[in-house]
Symmetry: C2
Subunit: 247 residues, 2 copies
Amino acid sequence: MDKGEKEFLDNFRAEDYKRPSVTADIVIFTLDEDNDLNILLINRKGYPFKDHWALPGGFLQVDEESTDETAERELYEETGINNVFLKQLYTFSKPDRDPRTHVISVAYTALIPKSKLTIKAGDDAKDARLFKIKYDIDGINFTNSDLTLTEKDLAFDHKEIIRTAITRIRGRIDYEPDAFELLKDKSEFTIYELKCIHESIKNETLDTANFRKSFIRNYLNTGFCVDLGRKCKNTGKRAAELYAVNE
Amino acid sequence: MDKGEKEFLDNFRAEDYKRPSVTADIVIFTLDEDNDLNILLINRKGYPFKDHWALPGGFLQVDEESTDETAERELYEETGINNVFLKQLYTFSKPDRDPRTHVISVAYTALIPKSKLTIKAGDDAKDARLFKIKYDIDGINFTNSDLTLTEKDLAFDHKEIIRTAITRIRGRIDYEPDAFELLKDKSEFTIYELKCIHESIKNETLDTANFRKSFIRNYLNTGFCVDLGRKCKNTGKRAAELYAVNE
DNA sequence: CCAAAAGTGTTCATAATACACCCATGC
DNA sequence: GCATGGGTGTATTATGAACACTTTTGG
């Protein structure tokens, strides 16, 4: 760095410029006991959008962290887990998307097996719940045992973020190994557990034989997965072969 | 909006929170007369990274525009064109990526035929130039008739942004109709012009017959393109069939 | 025995890839 | 006449989708 640059930086005052707020919001997908695709939403304790449901997330700590780190931190605070599959999704930045001020949201997608999720409502939430994603004529609905949300119950532009996330994950599922992230145990799973994950993400049933063949071609023969050479006994019915993701 | 929310918003003071700056930076790709892939870089007039080469871009106008609009505006100021293929690429947010303060960069990719580009150096630039993208052992180089840049000549983390952009466009070229955006004239082009675009983006030569077949299958038979039923006469050699993107 | 999960085999259409070959034109 | 761009045909193999069929297991 030359003298001129040092002098410039010493005199630079960030406060002289008007700036937006930046948040990281996270679309957390998981599969429930019915193997349905679920999303984690929190019920907002304060204004704006008090009592509405929103994606977990929070403000960037300026000069301290990247938005990736904001997302990781918020995810840990919200679900108690780290070292998780977390991918940047898209950045939402319309000036009026938050009534307080101009807030840029960098959205992330996380895929987490339910067994690893310990859901707790954070500081800014009255409640945190998993919702099944249901599709009907009007668009997407979110339901669980005692609540049904429509898009109007969602805060900010979070319905748009969720739609973008679903579209993205569906586009990726056939080409990227994302589905493995939703397995209860990546080091011991059956082809049919993996098939269930693909089915709920794509929201359609898949052919057993064809799914099997593509698993063998794309993941077993490539060395991405290995055949453990033993069967899964305890599970009712016929014993299924066990596989593991090769780390 | 209820009374409580109105009161909250009236009392909300955005200045109470520390906030980052936000910019939109644009990776502008074009093809030069040799049909090589080029990128537009500007030479920085002021600090920081004075005299270094950087992506065109600029600060978000808070409360006025989305980052998409920032990118459009900057692109217009820099190249004199609008209504252009502009896609959000990725958001870069490491706290130290700009020595002034924490600056979040929302990066965009633009594909523009050279005939539509009128390059002019903006307020913050001494110079604006197209550079060929060259690959060697050390990574990517940027060259034109009188300059060769290495990654060290680039400002900020712009080499990382450019790498991300190249990877993204390569991943999309086989599945998305991005290549059509680089045609001199979308309403009158030959299959071989399109092939050249694919070749420079992928940095490999393609088989004529196979490219042709996939064009027919994916774009002609689907109605995305139409056969104009006439030939391109003026171009030396044998006359080539003309096609148009169906608007 | 039978429903359900687990696993195999066969077929057909479409895609990707490689490559051999012909036509038109300007130098 | 030959290099270059423009264009066609054919063969091989990989992939995707449809579907018929067998095996194992608990109730």
